[in-house]
Assembly symmetry: C2
Homo-oligomer: 479 residues x 2
Amino acid sequence: MADIQESKESLQESLQQVITLLNKHRLVEDLVHKQDMPKQELVQTLVHKQNLAELQKRLDSLHPADVAYILEALPLEQRLDVWDLVKAERDGEILLEVSDAVRQTLIADMDSDELLAAAEQLDTDELADLAPDLPKDVLQELLESLDSRNRERLQSALSYPDDAVGALMDFDIVTIREDIALDVALRYLRRIGSLPDHTDKLFVVDRHDVLRGVLPLKRLVVNDLDSEVTDVMADDAVVFHPEDTADEAAKAFERYDLVTAPVVDENNRLVGRLTVDTVMDYIREEAESDMLSMAGLREEEDIFASVWKSVQNRWTWLAINLVTAFVASRVIGLFEGSIEKVVALAALMPIVAGIGGNSGNQTTTMIVRGLALGQISGHNTKSLLIKETGVGLLNGLVWGSVLGVIAYFLYDNVALGMVMTAAMTLNLLLAAVMGVMIPTVMSTRFNRDPAVGSSVLITAVTDSGGFFIFLGLATIFLL
Amino acid sequence: MADIQESKESLQESLQQVITLLNKHRLVEDLVHKQDMPKQELVQTLVHKQNLAELQKRLDSLHPADVAYILEALPLEQRLDVWDLVKAERDGEILLEVSDAVRQTLIADMDSDELLAAAEQLDTDELADLAPDLPKDVLQELLESLDSRNRERLQSALSYPDDAVGALMDFDIVTIREDIALDVALRYLRRIGSLPDHTDKLFVVDRHDVLRGVLPLKRLVVNDLDSEVTDVMADDAVVFHPEDTADEAAKAFERYDLVTAPVVDENNRLVGRLTVDTVMDYIREEAESDMLSMAGLREEEDIFASVWKSVQNRWTWLAINLVTAFVASRVIGLFEGSIEKVVALAALMPIVAGIGGNSGNQTTTMIVRGLALGQISGHNTKSLLIKETGVGLLNGLVWGSVLGVIAYFLYDNVALGMVMTAAMTLNLLLAAVMGVMIPTVMSTRFNRDPAVGSSVLITAVTDSGGFFIFLGLATIFLL
């Protein structure tokens, strides 16, 4: 038995061992470079070779997913050292396991022949995952090397966007006819000899490949051997179309607890299947990408990406943030006269803006989540607005009063304290309204992903708005 | 076949229909209240009843997960109206499907008898999910109503923390002995007549319930009928222990593409199983909770929770934010003399703080993700620090220069421009260092979830730090 606790420890251990061996290896290489004495060289080359052999042995013993984990956890230079040691015939499956960003660094290190060799080890649906990252000439050569059926499948898979069922499905389908008895079906399976991973059901089709139903293995093994497939199969299975979005498919998998599901074309002909492991990877990636994009990062960044790549990945939202910060600064600029007269305003204004930003972000995060779960649409935006403004009003009055009292004690100025309370309340109301509206409008009017940068936008509104409200009220009531 | 596109449309449609019927129902009720004429009453009661009957029929036709979706998308009052219409014998399964926050609102609306009746429809592992939300007296009565085996199971499941395998596992296990032939096994299964959901493998145990291996159904159906279980079973299956964390289990399910896996005690005796649907729910919930907690929200908030509940959910981090904003304000207070002399400082300082906060949040988000994926540990913190300070330095020099030039043009002051550039660069370096350190130290030193509030903390540092650096440099070089 593979104990999960042990396997976790041994994974961390493997990583440590790989790093230790790599360091030894580098040490020897450095020595060889520095001391160019022939005798020593011989010895060092020997040590060197031992190290490498040990490292290679360690890598060979690991599951492809575990090698992928080690590659992702290593900085670029060490990562490529390890990658060179991985057996060529495992390249394909490991490339599938690593994240997109890391895969690009590995592919950049391989020549055409290596890439082709790696690709040849893969199934068509796996190739479709890899293909977008391959150089054009390699992809062309790869297409030519496939038989016509698989070429068609690959081209069709590539024709769907990344987040369509057509791009996620695989072709490992086992089909049977509906008019045979279960013992015939079982004999047929024994002749096949082995079933693809995740096979929890057989697909029942007619001779035009039109899907008639599905036969779960767990029904196959408990029913009478002389019943016919048609009597035992489920004909109300959930089916997908290649153009369905992965998001809908993921929700259906969760809702109906699916393990595999058939994918059919517009004529109800079976074209592939979707499996729970693909869906689970998709859910994980989506959740991560939501989290990253709320902070204004693009989809994926290898944590060891070069400085230059990281700057490129992050610059868009930094630039947007720069513009919004500049606007906020100009709002303050409008009131420089007031600040000159009451310098306390300069010290107090960031509190109003900051709390507004924090509160607005809380609201936006709730709404982004509700939108992602499909809980929010036109019919309930109004009740959400009412609730959130209620929360904003209550928080504004409570915390605004606390801060008003503090401001009064600090600067011995009652009017200043009251302006503080009023400004806090108004800015939290603004934060509540915009916190609901920004993601909802982005999603319903502009059909955009509300997670992308909504945090930057709400902060922009509460900053400029907070400064304007606070300094405006101060100018009216204090001067 | 249940077409997924249709099913999604019909789900939205169902929600709309339910809302329309609910509104009609309210309208009639209002009329009955207002016009107390006996004749009209009769007619209205009839219309009323028709509406309710139609609504009830609609609800009865829906999958429990779909009813749960509708309940979650309705404000509290309407939600309880619908809940009253759901058939009592479906209460249990629907309570399992709704989110924790919504479940609490539904349970609060039920009396002890209704709760007991709902609980009695559930399996022990399902009861374990529900139990923490039940009133104490109901839970006590429930425990007494169970037989000793199930009571033990329930108590043991409740003894594990929410995020342990022991709390997630179920008891729907089908076991066989290793020394029987496959055709005997098949005959045994046919006698059982049906297998639990998600059964993709049988668990092979000896007569002391010690796990010997697993027999995937897909091996059972392709191998010779006279081979023995022991020859066909897999003896290297991934196994879990009840005290393993759900997080490790989820990673193992993703890594090794599992559908179900055995859970064993310290003596390797089979105590339950873990299924992919539970793991997928856990992954979804974890991802959401990470996203929420980065914004300083507690685990879960029903989007239609009362204002008061929402205020409670959010106040901790708002209060922390208040303290950090107050500190930042006091930092500015130190430099009030400088601001009085050069009022432009008040307008420019939020830019330095704001960009620092944005950039720090990008770094922190990357690191939180890397920590969650297990890619970051002691050995690579240093290279991450080097990389992130590189990004910070480059961004600081580029954007700092842009802002320096703008500040120069706005205020016609070369020194002010240079202070701006220097302050931006230093604050982005601070953001980079703290953006790496805050989540890493929280996770490795204090063993805390780095997602919780790290966004609030990094913003606090870049605000106070930004103000201090900018105003400090200005005081030294401009006055």
